[in-house]
């Protein structure tokens, strides 16, 4: 156990080793580790942010879906209303048209009836005149009695 020059030589070697580690070994690996730690932290933060974004997007999609559903309901309601309204209008129009057609047909019928009645009347008058003529061939002059005959015709 005697001290000798080895002590100084070992101390120098030690100093050299410390210098080498401090300068060339420790900093690069620590930098790499710290960079990786930062990357991981950033990644975790980004993941958290993404999760939050996803949550917000889901909520917004839900809201929009609800709104859209509501609007669809509204639109269907108004369409149904409009449908009913159109149906009513069409019904009313159809009824009016039917009435009109009916009225026209009635008028037509009335006219035809009147016309037929007129024709019948004329025929009856003619028949009556012919009958009367036949009966009264001698005395009755169709020209002198035309006025009387016309009056008769109107009365029938």
């Amino acid at each position: 156990m005697n001290l000798n020059f080895t002590l100084i030589a070992q101390a120098l070697a030690f100093a050299l080793f410390i210098w080498f580690t401090v300068k060339f070994i420790w900093p690069p690996l620590m930098r790499a580790i710290e960079r990786r730690q930062k990357q991981i932290a950033d990644g975790l933060a980004a993941g958290e942010q993404g999760r939050r974004d996803l949550e917000a997007a889901g909520k917004r999609a839900h809201e929009e879906l609800a709104e859209a559903r509501e609007r669809v309901g509204e639109i269907i309601g108004s369409a149904e209303k409009r449908d009913a309204q159109m149906l009513d209008e069409a019904k009313a129009a159809a009824r009016a048209e039917a009435d009109r057609i009916l009225a026209a047909a009635k008028a037509d019928i009335d006219q035809q009836v009147a016309r037929a009645r007129e024709a019948l009347r004329e025929q009856v008058a003619a028949l009556a005149v012919a009958g009367a003529e036949k009966i009264l061939r001698r005395e009755i002059n169709s020209e002198t009695h035309a006025e009387l005959l016309g009056q008769l015709k109107r009365e029938i």
Partner: protein, 267 residues
């Protein structure tokens, strides 16, 4: 083992505790323990070279297993330093890593079976080769004194020369003039005891470990009965020694961090 000598217990142990020395000048101080120095330097170069090789290819992306292993080592040392030292760790943490790793490897040389290793070392060192640098008091003193110098350097760098001298005279008892001398004596004891306990703890543990191994192998060499006893005992001691090797390296590293961080704090 030197076959030409008669093998006695004391010659066996004495032989294994002989340094490979090389004189570099006049006097007994000017001698180099080549074995300690070369082993320590090789271990340092290999371990730091390995780290350097890994670090140069390090990626901040997904690390491979080799890099992950080195990162675990770094994180471990950095966390230990962080718990003790509150400040910029860009010097103290790599220093702790250097000390811890280097001392661990130097201690681990004790695992190599001394007599098997001697087959190779006898090729160039016939009179002995101490393979465990930390069982050489020069190595542990060199480390402890370097840490001690760092301690004083940081004390002065942080508090200023005036602050450091003030601390020598005015702590821990108080700044009364009558207390200057007791304070100084107290601080001197502290400054002397720190490197002594730091280095001798490691040296003592490793030296004792080495001696116990040698005693066991000596017993094994004494005959069949000795071998039967020595082998299980050697196994038990080797397993226990794994703990000592790691623990002493850890303690040495932690004390380095503690001493340097204490230097940063003013009392």
């Amino acid at each position: 083992m030197a076959a030409e000598h008669e093998l006695t217990p004391s010659s066996y142990i004495g032989h294994h505790l002989t340094f490979l020395q090389h004189p570099v000048g006049e006097g007994s101080f000017w001698t180099l323990n080549v074995d300690s120095l070369v082993t320590a330097a090789l271990l340092g170069v290999f371990s730091l070279g390995f780290l350097w090789w890994v670090v140069r290819g390090a990626t901040s992306g997904v690390p491979n297993k080799r890099q992950a292993f080195v990162e675990i080592l770094f994180e471990f040392v950095d966390n230990q330093a962080k718990d003790i030292f509150h400040g910029d760790r860009k010097f103290i943490a790599p220093t702790a890593l250097t000390v811890g790793l280097w001392v661990l490897l130097m201690n681990a040389m004790d695992f190599l079976p001394a007599d098997v290793l001697a087959w190779f070392t006898h090729l160039f060192a016939p009179h002995g080769f101490r393979a465990v640098p930390t069982a050489d008091v020069n190595t542990t003193f060199a480390l402890a004194l370097s840490v001690w110098l760092l301690m004083i350097y940081f004390s002065i760098a942080v508090k200023g020369l005036g602050g450091w001298i003030h601390e020598l005279f005015c702590t821990p008892f108080g700044s009364n003039v009558l207390l200057w001398l007791p304070n100084l004596l107290f601080n001197l004891v502290e400054y002397i005891s720190k490197p002594l306990s730091h280095s001798l703890r490691l040296f003592g543990n490793m030296y004792a470990g080495e001696i116990i191994f040698l005693l066991l192998w000596m017993m094994a060499g004494a005959g069949l009965a000795g071998t039967v006893f020595a082998v299980p005992l050697g196994l038990i001691w080797a397993v226990f020694h794994i703990l000592i090797v790691a623990l002493q390296a850890y303690i040495f590293m932690m004390l380095t961090v503690v001493y340097i961080s204490m230097a940063h704090e003013s009392h």
